[in-house]
């Protein structure tokens, strides 16, 4: 597991991380989200040992990353955003090298090399040099190098950036498999639907500070986010207007040309009451769509829509 307590880091006068705290547990995928420059990379850099924290404390499986750095790094697996591979070497040579760097050797290294090649679907490309691989293959091999030594803690920094849908799907499956075997996975991405579908818990940071954390439902609740019900049909009569006015738990967002959109909390539970009132008022409902607000809208709401770079 990863325990981050009051992490701080500044570059000169610029504060990159300011008092970030969280705990990511074994067996879960923990999403670290934030716009560019929010402090995600600095946080990951401090956890991986690349950067020295300016303040606070980080423990990886009970090992302090500063005072017991080597032991902490032994538990880590890192899949960086860059394709951190050697172009001149082939897939097996890269895996052997990175496996060796994490302490694997001999038969164990050979066995694991074979296993991960199979898992990432590159067995038939074992002798292909990285420079001759497609972007998706490189991403999968990059991932394979990070999980070769079966790390207890896996840091994934945008592991699916710029890959084809098939490779992305495979990588996301692998992430779930890693969590299933008990690894603590810290996942950063700019693809909100990816985080929404993958992460058990989320931490949203901005300007170096934590601005929200919890499960997706907890974040929705915390932000007072409501569902949207979109109806098509005939809603022009005064009776309908009157009926909608009596439903205190809804807010009419849009009502024009045969379309009615209302915002409401706990949409699924309140649907019968809405349909009942509309039927009594003589409205004809053709189609109904209930939409829960997604992570992207929540993220934009939390961090604002202004460009960051």
């Amino acid at each position: 597991m990863i325990e981050v307590e009051e992490l701080g880091k500044a570059y000169g006068d610029r504060v990159a991380v300011d008092g970030v705290s969280f705990t990511a547990k074994a067996g879960e995928v923990f999403g670290l989200l934030g716009p560019n420059g929010a402090g995600k990379s600095t946080t990951i850099g401090c956890i991986s040992g690349l950067l020295k924290p300016g303040g606070g404390r980080i423990r990886v499986n009970d090992h302090d990353t500063v005072s017991d750095g080597r032991a902490a790094r032994e538990k880590l697996g890192v899949v960086p955003q860059e394709i951190a591979l050697y172009d001149e070497l082939n897939a097996v040579e890269n895996l052997r090298f990175w496996g060796g760097a994490w302490g694997l050797s001999g038969a164990r290294l050979e066995e694991r090399t074979k296993q991960v090649l199979e898992r990432v679907g590159l067995t038939d490309r074992a002798k292909t040099r990285v420079e001759a691989m497609s972007g998706g293959m490189k991403r999968r091999l990059n991932f394979a190098c990070g999980i070769l030594h079966e790390p207890r803690v896996l840091l994934l920094d945008e592991p699916t950036a710029g890959v084809d849908p098939q490779s992305r799907l495979r990588i996301l499956e692998l992430v779930r498999e890693e969590a299933s075997r008990g690894a603590c996975v810290l996942y950063t991405t700019h693809y909100m639907e990816e985080a929404e579908g993958l992460c058990d818990r989320l931490l949203i940071v901005d300007h170096g500070r934590v601005i929200a954390s919890g499960t997706l439902s907890e974040l929705h609740a915390e932000m007072g986010e409501r569902d949207l019900l979109r109806l098509t049909g005939s809603f022009e009569s005064e009776a309908v207007t009157s009926a909608l006015g009596e439903l205190e738990f809804i807010e009419v967002v849009q009502r024009e040309a045969g379309v009615l959109v209302v915002a409401l909390a706990n949409g699924a539970q309140n649907l019968p009451a809405i349909f009942g009132a509309l039927a009594e008022a003589g409205a004809e409902v053709g189609e109904a769509t209930l939409t829960r607000p997604n992570l992207e809208t929540l993220f934009i709401k939390l961090t604002g829509g202004a460009l960051r770079e």
Binding site: G49, L50, E74, Q81, A84, E88, L89, G100, A101, W102
Partner: protein
């Protein structure tokens, strides 16, 4: 150690996949060496020869003297063929030969009697340089005869009187005396006609050092040989150092720092792979040197082992330079700006021994000049190989300090 070798193996594998770069590193000093060799040590080749067709209608002393002078081994410029006038005219007419010289009948008599005579020279119009050489040489010969007439007029008049050249009625005794006189005269003329081109006014200086320390005096190319080797290694060090940028930009450097061993195995592995590459170059150079300059086994081994140690320290120095620059372009530029003056002053382009005093002093203080000095002292000046232990130790310690410095700087290098 095994860990470092694993990392070194990775870089050796990568280098083996791009052999062209390796060849370029070695090719640059070899090319420069070849040019310097051609410029300073001569490049062989065949000297041009004037094919002179000679018609000797005089059949007497001057014709013989001309042949003697022009065909002298110190002239080495003329290839003389005696022909008849008709044959000579026909051959020069069709461009066979550089020039045709006709010595008229009575030439010797005219010379000895101080009378006018006319030589005929026909040149080949299809040749530009060689006929000119023939003309100039003939003018020089005419001058020689003229000044001989002035210098030895009395003796030559005596010859003319004694020998009665025009009648051709000489006794055997007269002929012998005449031959002796001619030989004496020819010996005198030879010294005048072939003065030493450059004569060194050599003064034997008092020995400034003990006889034992006196240099053996290696040749120019022997002095250059270790310089070329170090030049190759310096180019390799500068080229290999830029790999840090590739590791940084590719993300492998950052990933490496997250491994249990951190960046230490990566940097030391790079130094180790650099050592092996330089060892291969040094070994090949040492073997070439051994066969070309008849180096002994100890000196050959010295050339194979000591330069790579220095090269690795230079590599660490260039790594340090790279981690302090803001971009690969700046690193390359700074590396080149540093490398070329060091090679110039440090005895790789020209031996330190031939540099002006002030530059030689600076050159010996440069890292490569310092290494070169130690290498040459053992290879060419009879210093004991044991004298290299201390420099080797200094180089190893320096490489260690530089490595530590690089590691301290790496996080900022990655973040820059």
């Amino acid at each position: 150690m095994r860990f470092i070798l694993k990392f070194a193996w990775k870089d050796l594998l990568r280098s083996s996949r791009d052999p062209l770069v390796f060849l370029i590193w070695i090719g640059i000093p070899l090319g420069i060496g070849l040019l310097l060799n051609l410029a300073f040590a001569g490049g062989g080749g065949t000297a041009p020869t004037v094919e002179l067709l000679l018609v000797d209608e005089d059949q007497s002393l001057i014709g013989d003297l001309f042949e003697e002078v022009a065909g002298h081994e110190r002239a080495k410029l003329f290839q003389i063929e005696t022909v008849s006038r008709a044959d000579g005219m026909e051959r020069i007419g069709r461009g066979d030969g550089s020039a045709l010289l006709i010595l008229p009948a009575g030439l010797t008599r005219a010379v000895f009697r101080m009378e006018a005579a006319e030589l005929e020279l026909f040149t080949n119009p299809s040749q530009r340089v060689l006929p000119r050489i023939a003309e100039e040489a003939l003018l020089a010969f005419v001058d020689l005869v003229f000044y001989s007439q002035r210098a030895f007029s009395e003796r030559m008049s005596g010859f003319a009187e004694t020998a009665r050249l025009s009648e051709g009625a000489l006794s055997q005794e007269e002929l012998d005396a005449f031959s002796e006189e001619v030989a004496e005269c020819a010996a005198l003329l030879e010294e005048m006609f072939f003065p030493p081109l450059i004569e060194l006014a050599a003064t034997e200086p008092e020995p400034a050092v003990d006889e034992a320390e006196e240099p053996k005096g290696p040749s120019f190319m022997e002095l250059m040989f270790p310089g070329f080797l170090l030049m190759a290694l310096c180019f390799m060090a500068e080229g290999l150092s830029t790999d840090l940028w590739r590791e940084r930009d590719g993300g492998t450097l950052a990933r490496m720092i997250s491994t249990p061993g951190g960046a230490l195995p990566l940097v030391t592995g790079k130094l180790a792979s650099g050592f092996f590459l330089m060892l291969a170059v040094s070994l090949a150079s040492a073997l070439i040197g051994a066969s070309t300059y008849q180096l002994g086994l100890a000196v050959t081994l010295l050339f194979a082992l000591f330069p790579p140690l220095a090269g690795v320290t230079f590599l660490a120095g260039f790594f340090l330079l790279q981690v302090h620059t803001s971009s690969q372009k700046a690193g390359n530029l700074l590396g080149s700006l540093l490398l070329f003056p060091l090679l110039m002053a440090g005895g790789s382009f020209f031996p330190i021994e031939v540099l002006p005093g002030w530059l030689a002093t600076i050159g010996r203080l440069t890292p490569n000049g310092w290494v070169l000095g130690h290498l040459k002292s053992v290879a060419f000046y009879d210093a004991s190989p044991a004298t290299l232990i201390l420099p080797a130790l200094v180089l190893a310690i320096l490489a260690g300090i530089l490595t530590k410095w690089i590691l301290l700087r790496l996080p900022r290098f990655i973040g820059s």
